[in-house]
Symmetry: C2
Subunit: 300 residues, 2 copies
């Protein structure tokens, strides 16, 4: 059977996910007493079967600029800690109230709500601890730029603000621009940062850095559309989280606004745009091109 | 009427709290859309009448080493954001379930639980955004050291871990060492960092930095004992939060373990030790000496 480029990306992603695990274990603190439960919860959430898409983007964009792999891996681990915090808090009863995540009990079901809040808090804090450490890069200016750029991407005007809008938008009708802005903040900003991280580590600015940011923005939006389509099309079992929730909660998505067919067309357009934007990198960016196709091709 | 040194410290703290407000307003993001509610909640919590003890410690210890005041103020604002996040999350129903904070509705009562989780997350993130910014110090090495030291102090082996132990210890009997460790993690570590921050900004190491860390540890523990005593002795109205909660929840405190009388003696001992430890700084540290006395003298 011939391997398609999608199969290749899937294999690469799988291998990468496995190779990242020792680094994630290494950054987790060793529990030294009664606080053990919060560290157990952090570990549970970190190893609950995530695809490691954001870390993969960090490492692949870093390779474009021949960044030291151990530096890229540290940033990748930090971003996965941060992404995991956001999932734990989003699943809380007061937020999206999701009892299942990737086919397993979410953290507040496996442990309890207090532990879930604290595990999220600790993972967010750990992300910045990792990034500020000299092991992440010998140049403190670069470490500060990573922290400054990331914290802007995930704060009140980024990921957290996007989640706020998402919650506020239940049973409200947003126009397409508002939904785009919300998605860009909620999930897009962290994906953009994951793509930009390699350029920051290599101190690359200008057109090449902008190209990666645009690539991140395009695949981030496409990824979100695909996620929303899956939310409608698949059963709970298939996607490993409670399906159809967004629809039931009356949440505004691009799919609910323009319909599934138009949304698929839009996702494809975004992917073409993402691939085109990588021209500046010639063949070195082939994995990123395949990854873009993989994002929309994976399940529909 | 003659002013005592305690009156002087109280006045100084009050003036300082007022003078810090513009800096706190400055670091808050401007809301640009539907995410406004989370920024409103951050502002509400930041301006709910905190004593600004931790920022005060940052600025006063910075003055020992003639650190630029604007640098110290930025670190002070960052620490207050972080402290405020911890209060918001601690008050959540799943945690300490406190509906009142400093005589006002806590954030999840004033807004809702989801907004409280998000406002806490955003304030924690904002703290690191502030510290990584060149405005906080021109030397990125110093900014990274602030972030690294703070993140260790408030993560799973620091403040968050302490809160985990506190929750786990309900209706359990801890021995004195375990309670001390829990308090040191939960509230002590951030106070120690607040005292150490001046030394980090001035790149001072060795005995003078250690002296400030010991001072922070001592007043932090004394402060916690006084807080636990107040929790027993005062009514809800007086201390502006639901009183007697720790007793009702069966929480382990030094006071419940060794009794109020012995706890007062212990607090006094800690304060004498804190004052003695400042000898290395001669008269320049007089405010810190008065502050130590103020911590235990304030209300009992």
């Amino acid at each position: 059977m011939k391997m398609t480029s999608l199969d290749l990306v899937e294999n690469l992603l799988g291998e990468f996910a496995t190779s990242l695990e020792p680094s994630l274990l290494e950054v987790l603190p060793d529990s030294q007493g009664m606080e053990e439960q919060v560290i157990d919860a952090m570990r549970y959430a970190l190893f609950a079967g995530g695809k490691r898409l954001r870390p993969f983007l960090v490492v692949m964009t870093s390779r474009l600029f021949s960044v030291e792999e151990e530096n890229a891996i540290r940033v990748a681990a930090a971003i996965e800690c941060l992404h995991t915090y956001s999932l734990i808090h989003d699943d809380l009863p007061a937020m999206d109230n999701d009892d299942v995540r990737r086919g397993k009990p979410s953290v507040h079901k496996k442990f309890d709500e207090a532990t879930a809040v604290l595990a999220g808090d600790a993972l967010l804090t750990l992300c910045f601890e990792i990034l500020s450490d000299v092991k992440t890069h010998s140049d403190p200016e670069i470490r500060c730029e990573l922290i400054a750029t990331l914290s802007r991407a995930v704060g009140a005007l980024g990921m957290v603000g996007g989640q706020m809008i998402d919650l506020k938008s239940e049973n409200q009708s947003l126009i397409e621009n508002e939904i785009n802005r919300m998605q860009q903040m909620k999930t897009g900003a962290l994906i953009v940062f994951s793509c930009e991280a390699g350029a920051i580590l290599a101190q690359v600015k200008g057109k090449r850095r902008d190209a990666l940011k645009h690539y991140g923005r395009d695949i981030g939006l496409a990824f979100q559309i695909v996620d929303d389509l899956l939310d409608i099309e698949r059963s709970s079992l298939d996607i490993g989280k409670t399906a159809g929730k967004d629809i039931r909660a009356g949440k505004a998505t691009i799919v609910s606004l323009i319909g599934a067919g138009n949304a698929k067309i839009k996702a494809d357009k975004l992917i073409n745009q993402a691939i085109k934007g990588l021209e500046i990198f010639d063949d070195k960016a082939n994995i990123l091109r395949s990854l873009a196709a993989f994002v929309v091709g994976r399940n529909y």
